[in-house]
Amino acid sequence: MIMNKLKLIIKREFLAKVRNRSFIIMTFISPLIMVGMIALVVYLSKSSMEKINVVAYVDNSKFFSKNDFKDSNTIHYIDLTEVDISEAKQIVQESNHDGLLFIPKKDSIEQITESIQFFSQETPSMVLISSLENNLENKLEKKKMLQLNIDLEKLEQSDLNVDIKLSNYSGEKSSKLVNGIKIALGMGAGYIVMMFIIVYGAMVMRSVIEEKTSRIVEVIISSVKPFQLMMGKVIGTAGAGLLQFFIWAVLMFLMLVAGSYFFGMDSMASVQTAQIPTDQMEAVATNDAQFAINEILKLPLFSMFIWFILFFLGGYLLYSSIYAAIGSAVDNETDTQQFMMPVIMPLMIGVYVGFATVINDPHGTVATVFSMIPFTSPIVMLMRIPFGVPWWQIALSLFLLIITFLAVIWLAAKIYRVGILMYGKKVNYKELYKWMRY
């Protein structure tokens, strides 16, 4: 009987979310927006890379020759050494060139390095400046070496390149590209979990507030226990979220198939990677897409997926029950502000700690500790998992997460039980603490 009622509530909550117009729009439009955004970024960065900057120069130093200012793929040089610097500025401005490089007359190479200037209307891009710097540095270094009587030919012959090949003890080779893929996978998973918790947690909260303001809540809890109503709501909303994930995965898969035909890739290989939507776009964009896909397939995708679901559910249950308690404590959404900070904070910390530490040192102290703390572990642990985490750490982290969410749900239910029947009361933390003991 109790299970039946819980089922009824879950079904109602699920349908209420899924039938909502904004859910439908979100589900079908946002993947399109995401693909559009990626395409736009790719297009823009490509076109800015292809753009040729016109740079004029006035070289009074006599250290350089015309050969030192050869046009490159991105820079076209114009020699204005013949004119005065102030006149050159005027010319550059009038003809709308991208900038003016000024090399003053100095006695030594060392002095030159400090005194070169670049004039422009707008702040120039870092790429342009660093390629100008590289060029000048190169040329000056060579001149300096000549001064120091260093044999340039021998120096060139001695130029070597070391490439360290990565592999683990069982002999599996890996590459830096794979490291990048792992980072992308981990970050993507952690970020998705955070976004989902915030979006769907807020949904649970709004739904609680709606029941409170429409005053139906007392009718409902004369038939079911408040705890059942709360859990039904949390689970039903999670169902809507999982459905959304599923639809997104299918859409991503379809787009990937379409994309792989477009890029002429082996579509069978991409079929198998469809489980990891965050990574597909990257793989498509990479030139060695085939290699990347092979590398991805070597990762323990299935167990990663299981861990993702477990940590995701644990984190969602933990936070959404807090959201439900907050919703029960207030009369409208504006009153939730004061309680939102402590909820969003650990999620943000999780993501930023993850971004900052996991990339550099996935098994360092900070990353390990934050992947154990239940309020950040769903995010940080998921970021670490692609790098291979000892099973006992995952188990311990999950265990702590489960213990904590059981405790938090228990406390949240106590607040919820009292809160849903409380109207017109300005609630603070002291009040909430009191409710826990009613």
Binding site: K5, S214, E218, V219, S222, Y438
Partner: protein, 309 residues
């Protein structure tokens, strides 16, 4: 007569505030039981405890002779004072959902809803969303949902608020009909005229304590002041008034009559009976009006609360 609901020494504290202090009531089967009290007295808390929304700190509740069980919610229907429906859900779907939560099957709920919707002539609302209904319309749906599972015990908290007089009458008739069919009704209200009209039993709660309960007739007897309203036809009103005043405590009374009579309210506090009074008056004037003053529910409410403070 058997009691369908008995509460024994219910205590409920909210922090340091005691909302209910040893409250015991007995609700006889198939009666209409008025639960009265000023705002904030603890009525709603008691009703929520009966509905198992809130748990009592101390005390026992018996439903139909047995300790109250979680499943007993299927035999109780509750219309809270603060009530509402899911605004964005359709009327029919929502009614079925709420009925299912009370333990009805989907088909049974549909069948019964059709009956009630036809009866209230609101069949064409079935596919409307609640937000499209007026307040009175939503209240009708709410009433139907409350009684749909034919509960043994119905608890109405201010059932007539939000209804126009025509619909209030409709609801009142339905409440009486439900009582006649075997339901017991607990009725919480501030409107004393409906208490007077409907309630057979009452309990009065004031500042967390039950200060009065029983059959309304018995309570009225208990509260009667042994006063009588009389109209006396006489030529010498002043002289008569003076004479009567010496023997009884007398005050002016107001009522309608055809004669220009002396209208008095006479209080028999000195052990005289009604017969003595009639004999006494009969000798002195023509009695054209003689009635015992019965305290109204309103009088009792105000007096009891005043005495308690």
């Amino acid at each position: 007569m058997d009691n369908i609901l008995v509460t024994e020494n219910i205590v409920k504290d909210f922090g340091s505030f005691r909302a209910l202090n040893n409250v015991s009531i007995e609700v006889p089967e198939q009666s209409i039981f008025g639960l009265l009290g000023p705002n904030g007295a603890g009525k709603t808390t008691l009703i929520r405890i009966i509905n198992q929304i809130t748990l009592p700190d101390e005390g026992k509740i018996f439903f139909n002779g047995n300790a109250l069980q979680p499943n007993d919610v299927h035999f109780i229907g509750y219309l809270p004072e603060e009530r509402g429906l899911y605004k964005r859900m359709k009327v029919g779907e929502q009614s079925i959902y709420l009925a299912q939560l009370k333990g009805l099957s989907k088909n049974e709920a549909k069948k019964r809803l059709k009956y009630w919707f036809d009866k209230f002539e609101i069949g064409d609302w079935w596919n409307k969303k609640v937000e499209e209904l007026s307040k009175g319309m939503a209240q009708k749906v709410q009433f139907i949902v409350t009684v749909l599972h034919e509960p043994k015990l119905l608890i109405f908290d201010e059932p007539f608020s939000g209804f126009d007089p025509i619909n209030a009458n409709l609801i009142k008739d339905e409440i009486l009909r439900l009582r006649d069919k075997g339901s017991t009704i607990i009725f919480s209200t501030h409107r004393m005229e409906s208490v007077e009209e409907l309630c057979e039993y009452i309990a009065l709660i004031d500042r967390s304590n039950k200060i009065l309960d029983g059959k309304l007739v018995d309570i009225k007897k208990q509260f009667k002041t042994n006063s009588f309203e009389v109209g006396l036809v006489t030529d010498e009103k002043d002289k008569l008034l003076q004479e009567i005043s010496q023997k009884f405590s007398v005050s002016k009374a107001e009522f309608k009559s055809l004669e220009d009579d002396l209208k008095l309210r006479i209080n028999l506090s000195n052990g005289d009976t009604s017969t003595d009074l009639i004999k006494y008056l009969n000798k002195r004037a023509l009695i054209n009006h003689y009635v015992e003053v019965i305290p109204t529910a309103n009088d009792i409410f105000i007096q009891a609360v005043k005495q308690n403070s």
